[in-house]
Symmetry: C2
């Protein structure tokens, strides 16, 4: 093969500067997670297909990358599916393993498998790539990182408060107060209450799926879609005011209390929202705009209480989360409530880049380059180079006596701040000529003086 | 599904303490890599199968985990292979992608793909999991981490010197001088010279494969195997002294010079070894035992010069590497020499654990727990909790007013050093009762005083 090599669609390489940026995001999130008592775990990229299948419905199953069994996999293949060329039917018999498509299902599996060793409530965070056989498009990858934090084994709403404060801490640090963003909150119980209040309990999913599109298609289209789904006209009339709420928390909570006065589950949802808002408002937020959004309906397949979403203007969701009451039930551990959030590292990456919000990463790369003038000078420089390194300075010597211009270009391209030149004069005097590549200034320094520049 | 969940054979979960240990290894290696001017990159877990296939021979191809194409993959399947139930033949037509089995091939692909943006010589490091469909056994996993550093685009032996010094720096820090380990060096050109000198140039691979087993099976078995492979008896007689070399560098180099006096490639190899040893011995090593091992023959498929291996007594290789002159040739970029090493993180993990060499990771987890005595106390504590966190202290409040014993057990299990108790007395006095869980002592402190304990 001598074609120009490429990588699979929807995947990407990370160059040194891209790594520095991404590590900056991870490190910020990690530091905040730890401040809140979360502990890091990691699960394998590969899970048994049976663990992943059926957790998010058929659509999710299609998004799972399956791993072909090793060896003579056809010998155990489902004969009927093979004969009928039924790809979906064949899969389970030739692929036992798959790549996880999120970190939530592996976490649920981990909790059940290690339930006897875990102290609950368990606060864990996990930063790993996930894989989805999605159609690649701008900002959507087939391999991307999630940064999840979950608290499992406690239904206290203080956990929700912590997660909102974490979001506030992370984006306060990453956005440096230079970017507006909104943390929207809703509650699945309120959505259930609404369906109940308008007499359409069995159409909860249809209603919320339609409501969730409000931003994109507008009120009229939403109502049209609901009518098409068979929601009663009278019910729709009751629904309309929901879409026209102003941004006034107390008014809206009162409106909901009124609308849901006959729904037990709805009233419970309102109470939960009130509690969360009360705590957060008392404690205060640094830079987040927190708002109630009764149209927020993400993750309906598993969320049972609070729903959280973070948005920056003109960008898809950069963080989301919610409470789920039965994530581990699938694996045989019932009645364990959890709540979590997931920072979308790749989207946050793009937001910071678009808005020029990355710090400089100078110290991350080489700080000092010794120019190589030939064998004698090189031998003189080597011990000095290691003295620098042992003092914690990132340093290199150009590995051969190439032309000066080539070596200086190397220093420039690698963003190296100091270049050290040692010729016969310097060797005699026991000094180094040190050029600051940013200012262009040259100084004559001893190795000890050079080291102190980095203290 | 309500069976107890499990993970695929040869994979594992990492619990919080295991993560802390592994991150400690990664952080140590990273810091040293950066000191030597290496920059981090990351490549996708998935590569095109065509990129990976054929890089390490048929045996390697079998070890590759292939990813089943999405959708109706059978519609494009190789009809003949399907009919014949030929698994190997079918694979390429139903799996375009695969998981990388090392970081070297993806790096070569990366270099060729980005050759116009890269400044050579390029020092890159990469810490990522790799996947191999190997038979799982103690210390061998199907998903494990590699920590690679390579310098590409320079044939200077100073690069070899840097890599050996990196090994010395990393294990000096990780082993704290408490563990003996040996860095063995050889040169592929010397092995080629030996085959030439005994008149068996075409049997180089057989000879080196047999020699490599010396440790395990002894001299006689090695010679027997070679005789079986058709190596001439007279040649074998010449070979025998090689296996009986004492650990005397100068004597051994002289012996090799004598043996290889008629082999140009052999002499070149000896010269390279001499240069590397000279530099390293002049610069000195902190804790490594560096030795020449003419029987070291790893990576013969691609190494063309220096070969490096690090071993701790009674343990398989924990680090290995070498020089390759044509890694990127496969992807259309010829004549680029590189040299690299790979730390085997999982084996180093086990060595440190077996020898009790991990530091304590206290600050990594929660440092302060507020006991929750009820709503009133909780509301009083919340702002104090956030004051601690904002001061950079990892802190939590137990999320509900559970029994005291339960909360104290939680603190114990999570290794939390300070437990804060606030009842009505404390609220009145504006003080906190702080219990040191290690010493058992209790103090009455203000929140500011508590914060200063962590400065």
């Amino acid at each position: 093969m001598s074609n120009k090599p490429s990588i699979p669609k929807g995947t990407r390489d990370f160059s040194p500067i891209e790594m520095a940026r991404r590590n900056y995001i991870f490190d910020t999130i990690k530091k905040v997670y730890k401040k809140y008592g979360f502990q890091q775990i990691e699960t394998p990229a590969m899970e048994n297909l049976s663990t992943l299948f059926g957790s998010g419905g058929d659509e999710s199953d299609k998004l799972i990358f399956k791993i072909l069994n090793s060896g003579d996999y056809l010998s155990k293949a489902d004969g009927k599916a093979l004969e009928e060329k039924n790809s979906t039917g064949l899969t389970k018999s030739i692929a036992e393993k798959a790549l996880h498509y999120d970190l939530t299902v592996p976490f649920a599996r981990y909790v059940v498998q290690n339930q006897n060793e875990i102290t609950f409530p368990f606060r864990r965070f996990q930063i790993q790539p996930v894989w989805r056989a999605d159609r690649p498009q701008k900002g959507r990858y087939r391999e991307f990182y999630q940064c999840d934090a979950d608290i499992i084994g406690s239904d206290s709403l203080l956990n929700e408060v912590d997660l909102i404060k974490i979001i506030d801490d992370v984006f306060t640090e990453l956005f440096q107060g230079k970017l507006n963003y909104t943390v929207s909150i809703n509650n699945r119980k309120v959505l259930a209450g609404i369906a109940e209040a308008i007499g359409e309990t069995d159409k909860l999913i249809d209603i919320t799926v339609a409501i969730d599109k409000l931003d994109k298609i507008g009120v009229d289209k939403v109502l049209e879609e609901l009518q098409f789904k068979g929601v009663d006209i009278k019910a729709l009339t009751k629904l309309r005011p929901l879409f026209e709420l102003k941004d006034d928390l107390n008014e809206n909570l009162k409106f909901l209390e009124n609308l849901l006065s006959t729904s037990e589950i709805g009233k419970k949802g309102i109470e939960e929202l009130r509690t969360v808002f009360n705590y957060v408002n008392q404690l205060g937020l640094k830079t987040s705009n927190l708002k109630l959004d009764v149209t927020l309906a993400r993750g309906l397949g598993y969320y049972t209480g609070t729903i959280i979403e973070v948005k920056v203007d003109n960008f898809p969701s950069i963080t989301g989360g919610g409470r789920y009451d039965d994530l581990t039930g699938k694996f045989g551990l019932k009645d364990v409530s959890g709540v979590g959030i997931s920072f979308g590292a790749d989207r946050i990456y793009d937001v910071l880049l678009d808005n020029n919000l990355y710090p400089e990463f100078k110290g991350d790369s080489t700080q000092v380059l010794f120019i190589n003038f030939g064998d004698k000078e090189q031998d003189y420089c080597l011990p000095l180079l290691f003295q620098l390194r042992d003092a914690g300075v990132n340093a290199e010597i150009y590995p051969e006596a190439a032309k000066m211009k080539k070596q200086m270009t190397f220093a420039n391209n690698k963003n190296i701040k100091y270049v050290v030149m040692v010729g016969s004069d310097e060797m005699e005097a026991g000094k180094l000529t040190v050029k600051n590549m940013e200012s262009g200034e040259q100084e004559s320094l001893t190795i000890e003086e050079l080291i102190t520049l980095f203290k």
